[in-house]
């Protein structure tokens, strides 16, 4: 059965869910990715996304052993993500010189704690399913959460765009203009943390960072503003996820990984094309200047 036949087949609701998730995630990847990219906090988002595994592992362990039966992996992930964001944010604002060490520590400790908890959880638990995710397993509830988060993130980006834009470009100047850049930064980390928790269900923990940076990075080559980067980033993410899901159906390979490979390939191609065009332009202007002197 072809991909397009499957999309309209009533028995393949999960495939339509996957496409809907791709659409909703693309908005987050585009809007949030642009801010993460221009503020250069991809490594901070990376640490938060990996710390999430600790929360997932702890929740699975506590629920499976009957200590906290109602605790879901999602709740544990959100708690760990917000804690990681708070610690990283505080260190970044108050002790910049220790930022790298703390980011790496949270990254490693979060993942290791997750693996340890899962090892002691009764029954079989596979950490790789959380690392790489599976877009084909999304529920309607997941889609609703993604839609709510989309609305929240788009509203915040629209409402505080001048402050986000100015503090990303020149934080000191924004502070002089009275913008509470520390609060903007912490709010951004918190929203990133919650988004990462939901997005990791789509492409997995490892690949969230790739999708937060690659479409936005590509969009940066064709945008004149951060807002443009958000729009183009969303469009590119839509193209990558749609194409990735269609190809994964046809080739029978994991959708999340394929989406990221596509996004990465286009980004690298764009970067190479930009370097080449810049070099050609410089060469032309140099030869024109030489001709002018002659």
């Amino acid at each position: 059965m072809s991909f397009f036949e499957a999309v309209f087949d009533p028995s393949f609701a999960f495939l339509r869910n996957a496409l809907a998730a791709g659409f909703l995630s693309s908005i987050l990847f585009g809007v949030l990715g642009a801010v993460v990219t221009v503020k250069r906090i991809a490594s901070l988002a990376g640490a938060i996304s990996h710390a999430v595994l600790g929360g997932i592992g702890m929740s699975l362990f506590l629920a499976a052993t009957g200590r906290v039966p109602w605790l879901t992996p999602m709740i544990g992930a959100v708690v760990f993500a917000l804690l990681a964001a708070l610690v990283i944010g505080a260190v970044s604002l108050r002790a910049k010189q220790r930022e790298d060490t703390v980011i790496n520590a949270i990254w490693a400790i979060g993942m290791s704690a997750g693996v340890l908890f899962m090892a002691k959880t009764p029954g079989y638990t596979d950490p790789t399913s959380y690392l790489f995710g599976n877009i084909l397993l999304l529920s309607n509830r997941d889609l609703l959460l993604l839609a709510v988060l989309d609305i929240l993130v788009v509203f915040l980006a629209w409402r505080f765009y001048p402050q986000i834009n100015a503090s990303s470009f020149d934080e000191e100047f924004a502070r002089v203009r009275g913008v509470r850049t520390g609060a903007v930064f912490l709010a951004l980390l918190a929203v990133t943390a919650v988004s990462v928790v939901l997005l990791q269900t789509f492409v997995g923990i490892v690949m969230v960072i790739a999708m937060l940076t690659l479409p936005s990075g590509t969009a940066g080559y064709v945008s004149k503003s951060v807002a443009g980067m958000m729009v183009f980033g969303t469009v590119f993410s839509l193209l990558f996820t749609g194409t990735g899901i269609a190809l994964s159906w046809t080739l029978d390979v994991p959708a999340g990984a394929l989406v990221v490979v596509l996004a990465g390939a286009v980004f690298l191609f764009s970067a190479a094309a930009r370097m080449l065009s810049t070099r050609i332009r410089k060469r032309k202007s140099a030869s024109a200047a030489g001709g002018g002197r002659a």
Binding site: V38, N165, F169, D170, F173, V176, R177, V179
Partner: protein, 296 residues
């Protein structure tokens, strides 16, 4: 010759020195024409300000003031504490002791009247932003997202003053160092500031850009209080009314006020082609400009 603080009023100087001093004050800098400005309201006042990073003293007992519409220069070698002093003025740091009065308000509340041009004009070379958008950041408010007609007019006016109107839609990353500096000057002017603070404005600037910058500052002089921070301790722009030097000490740096005089031997392209020498050998009391009867 070194004249210590207070000696001018106490008659401790000999007639020859006094005559020399009178000549310096009358001929040097731009003294007489700016008498009115010097007796105007105070734009910036540092009153016995101390500042330390953790327990390391950086500034100690810093006291100075700048009158409204004066053109002031803050000079000092690298690491002398100029940047710290600037951060205190901008409200980015809080003093350990003493007080900073800005337009009769505490520092922080009067910050919206400051236009600030930072030393670093590089930023992220891949940041997608046009010149107009950068200048509009000068109209940024703490939480509002809207820019109105008045903001647009102020942005256009600032770009005209900084001579960058033709660059408005160009990407900031595509500009030269000198053009970027002028964009940041326009960004500061967009707020229609009462106090314009420029940190090393001529750094990495070619002589043509430097001349255009100081032409712009010359047009602003008299209507805006201007403070330029520079590591060049020998010369300042001839626009300068008053020069402050950050002087080192074991328990932290302090500020000494000096006079300036025309410098015919300064490099011809410095500060747009007209520079004054800082007379480090003559300290002037900070209260000198405010005391009636003193020659200016």
């Amino acid at each position: 010759m070194r004249i210590v603080k207070g000696s001018l009023k106490q008659g401790f100087i000999d007639p020859v020195t006094e005559a020399l001093l009178q000549r310096l004050f009358l001929a040097g800098g731009n003294a007489v024409a700016d008498t009115q400005a010097r007796h105007g309201p105070v734009a910036v006042r540092f009153d016995s300000v101390d500042f330390s990073y953790e327990r390391i003293p950086v500034l100690s007992n810093v006291s100075f003031h700048i009158h409204q519409n004066e053109f002031a220069a803050l000079v000092g070698s690298n690491g002398s504490g100029k940047t710290t002093l600037l951060k205190l003025l901008l409200g980015l740091e809080k003093p350990v002791a003493g007080r900073i009065v800005l337009f009769e308000d505490a520092a922080g509340k009067g910050r919206e009247r400051i236009g600030y041009v930072p030393q670093n004009a590089g930023f992220d070379p891949t940041f997608p932003v046009t010149v107009r958008s950068v200048v509009r950041m000068g109209r940024l408010r703490p939480s509002s997202r809207f820019f109105g007609k008045e903001d647009a007019e102020a942005v256009n006016e600032a770009m005209e003053k900084a001579d960058i109107a033709d660059l408005a839609e160009r990407p900031y990353s595509a500009l030269s160092g000198g053009q970027r500096r002028r964009v940041l000057v326009a960004r500061a002017l967009a707020s229609r500031p009462s106090l314009l603070v420029l940190d090393e404005p001529a750094a990495n600037m070619d002589s043509e850009s430097e001349k255009r910058l100081f032409d712009t500052l010359g047009q602003l002089k008299g209507s805006t209080t201007i403070l330029i921070v520079t590591h060049d301790t020998a010369f300042v722009s001839s626009l300068t009314d008053v020069a402050f030097c950050v002087a080192g000490g074991v328990s932290g740096c302090s500020i000494v006020r000096h006079r300036t005089e025309p410098a015919a031997d300064a490099p011809h392209d410095l500060y747009g082609g007209s520079a004054s020498r800082v007379r480090h050998d003559i300290d002037v009391p900070d209260s000198w400009c405010c005391e009636e009867g003193n020659p200016l």
